[in-house]
C-alpha cells in the first residue's frame, strides 16, 4: 500500500496542473488550428472544412508583416544583447556588495505597467515633446525631424521593454563563472580581450542563448509597441492578428495567422531545446 502510494504520488501531484494546462493551453492551440480551417461567419456559425489554402492566402497577403516582425524581433534582440551584456558583466564582476541593489535598479520597470512604459516613451519621443521640442527650437534638429511612427521608435520600444529580461539571465551565468579562470588566463599572459573571448564569452553562452530566445519570441509577437510608437508602415504580425479578430472579425484568417506564427516560433524553440536542453531556460525565465 505504502509502496503503491509512493509510485502514484508524482502522478497525483501533477494531475491538477496537467488537467489545467491541457484544457487551457494545449487544447486551445489545437482549437486554433481548427478555427483556421473553419468557414462561415460570426452570425451563422462555423463549419469545419479542409480549406488549407487559407495558409497560403495568409502568407501571400501578410508575408511582408511576417518579415517585418522577424526583422524587428531580430534587430531589437541583438541591440538589447549589446546593451545588456556589458551591464550584466559589470554588475557580476565589479558590483561588489551592491550587486543586488544594481539588479533591483535595473528591474524597476517591472513595477510599472507595460502599457504605461510604452506610453511614457510615446511622450518622450513625440514630435513636440520636452525632448525634441527644445532641440528643434534651437535649430539642432530640423523642424520635420521625427522618431515616432518610424521603425526605430518601435525597435527602441521593444529594446527598452526587454532590457531587464535580458540582463537577468546574463547576470546569472556571469556570476557563476569561477574568477580563478580569468586569473589563470592572466597568469598565462592572455590579454584581457583574449581572456574575455576564450573564457568568459563561451562560459556565458547558455545565458546569451536563453535570453535571446525569450526576448526574440516575445518581441516578434508584440503588437503594443507598434501600435503606440509606430505608424501605418510599422504593422507587425501581432497587429494584423489583432485586427483580423476584432476589426474585421475574420476569425479563420486570424487563427491561421496565429497558428503560423506559433509554428514558426515553436520551430525556433524546438531547435533551441534540442541544442541546449530545457533546464537552463526554466532557470532563467524566472
Amino acid at each position: 500500500m505504502r509502496q503503491l502510494r509512493g509510485i502514484l504520488a508524482p502522478y497525483l501531484l501533477s494531475l491538477p496542473s496537467w488537467v489545467y494546462l491541457l484544457i487551457f493551453f494545449l487544447i486551445p492551440l489545437g482549437s486554433m488550428l481548427g478555427m483556421a480551417l473553419a468557414v462561415g461567419n460570426p452570425l451563422t456559425g462555423y463549419t469545419m472544412s479542409d480549406n488549407f489554402s487559407i495558409f497560403g492566402q495568409a502568407l501571400s497577403s501578410f508575408g511582408d508583416s511576417f518579415i517585418r516582425s522577424f526583422w524587428y524581433g531580430t534587430a531589437s534582440t541583438i541591440i538589447t544583447l549589446a546593451m545588456a551584456y556589458p551591464v550584466a558583466y559589470w554588475i557580476a564582476f565589479y558590483g561588489g556588495r551592491h550587486k543586488s541593489t544594481f539588479l533591483f535598479l535595473i528591474m524597476l520597470p517591472f513595477f510599472v505597467s507595460f502599457v504605461i512604459r510604452v506610453l511614457a516613451w510615446e511622450f518622450i519621443l513625440s514630435d513636440n515633446s520636452f525632448v525634441l521640442g527644445p532641440l528643434k527650437e534651437m535649430g539642432i534638429l530640423p523642424e520635420k525631424f521625427r522618431i515616432l511612427s518610424t521603425q526605430w521608435a518601435v525597435i527602441g520600444g521593444l529594446v527598452y521593454n526587454s532590457f531587464a529580461y535580458y540582463v537577468l539571465p546574463l547576470y546569472v551565468v556571469l556570476e557563476k563563472i569561477d574568477r580563478r579562470l580569468v586569473r589563470a588566463a592572466n597568469d598565462l599572459y592572455a590579454s584581457p580581450v583574449t581572456a574575455f573571448l576564450k573564457i568568459i564569452l563561451p562560459l556565458s553562452a547558455p545565458g546569451v542563448f536563453a535570453g535571446f530566445l525569450l526576448v526574440f519570441v516575445t518581441n516578434v509577437g508584440d503588437f503594443v509597441n507598434a501600435a503606440l510608437l509606430g505608424g501605418p508602415g510599422t504593422y507587425m504580425i501581432g497587429n494584423i492578428i489583432q485586427d483580423a479578430f476584432f476589426l474585421n472579425q475574420n476569425y479563420p484568417m486570424a487563427a491561421a495567422l496565429s497558428s503560423m506564427l506559433m509554428l514558426m516560433l515553436m520551430l525556433a524553440i524546438l531547435l533551441y531545446s534540442k541544442t541546449f536542453g530545457t533546464d537552463t531556460i526554466q532557470e532563467y525565465a524566472a
Partner: protein
Amino acid sequence: MSGAVSTPMPSAYKKSRLGERVLACFTWAMIIYTMLPIAVMVVFSFNFAPNGRVALNWLHFTFSNYTHAFAIQDLTTALVHSLEVAIGSGLISVILGTPLALALARHKFWGKTVTDIVIFADIAAPAVVVGASLLSLFLTLNLPRGLLTIFIAHVAFNLAFAVVVIRARVSGLDKSLDRAAADLGATPWVAFWTVIFPLILPGIIGAMLLCFMLSIDDLIITTFVAGQTLTFPLWVYGAVKVGTPPQVFVLSTFIFAGGVLLALVNAAVTHRRQSV
C-alpha cells in the same frame, strides 16, 4: 614563483582599470535610461492637466491629479478588476503549481520530460498566440468573455512561472527531511504541512508575487479574452487615442510605489531570516 607571474602586467592592468571605468559609466547610463520613462510617469502625474488630458510639456506643479485620483469611475473599476484577477490568479496558480513543483523536483516519473517541455512551452509561447488560441477555444465553446475568461487566461500563463519558482525552492531541500519525519511517525500529509510547507513557503510567496506582477501587467493576452470587461492596462490602451487622463499616471505611480515597497519588505524579511 606564483608571486612573480600572477602579478598582472602593468599595461594590461591599466587597460582593465580603464575598461572597468567605461563599463561602470555605461552601466549607470543604462540605469538612467531604465528610469527615464518611470521618471516621466511620476513627474507628469504632478503636472497641471488642461481639459483632463496629460500635457506633453511641463505646465505647472499641482496636487489636484492626486486629490482626483479616483475621479474616473471606469478607470477605478478597471483597476479593481485588475487587482481581483491578479490576486485570484496568483493564489490559484500556486495552489495548482505547488504539487507539480514537488513532483518535478523530488520524483522521477513517466512523462516528466513531456511535463518539462509543456512548462517550458507555456513560458516561451508568444503572448499573441496564447491569447488567440484561448479566444479560439472560448469562441468554439461559446463561452461569453468577461472577468472569468480573463481569470482563466491569467492562471494559464501564471501557472508555469509558479511551478518554476517553487520548484527551485523545493530542489534546495534535503530529501532526508521526509525520511526523518516518516521515522518519527508522520504521515506524508502531516510531514508536508509541518516540515516541507514552512520551508518552501518563501518560494510560494515569491511565486505569488511574480504571478501578481505578471497578471496586473498583462495587456496582450487580456485583449483577446476580455470581451467588454476592462482591466487597468486595457483601459489605458483604449484611452491612448483620445488622450491620456492624468489619473492614469497617478494610479500607476501608486502601483509602482506599492510594488517597490512590497519588494523591499520581502527582501528585508528574507535577509533577516537568512541572517538569523
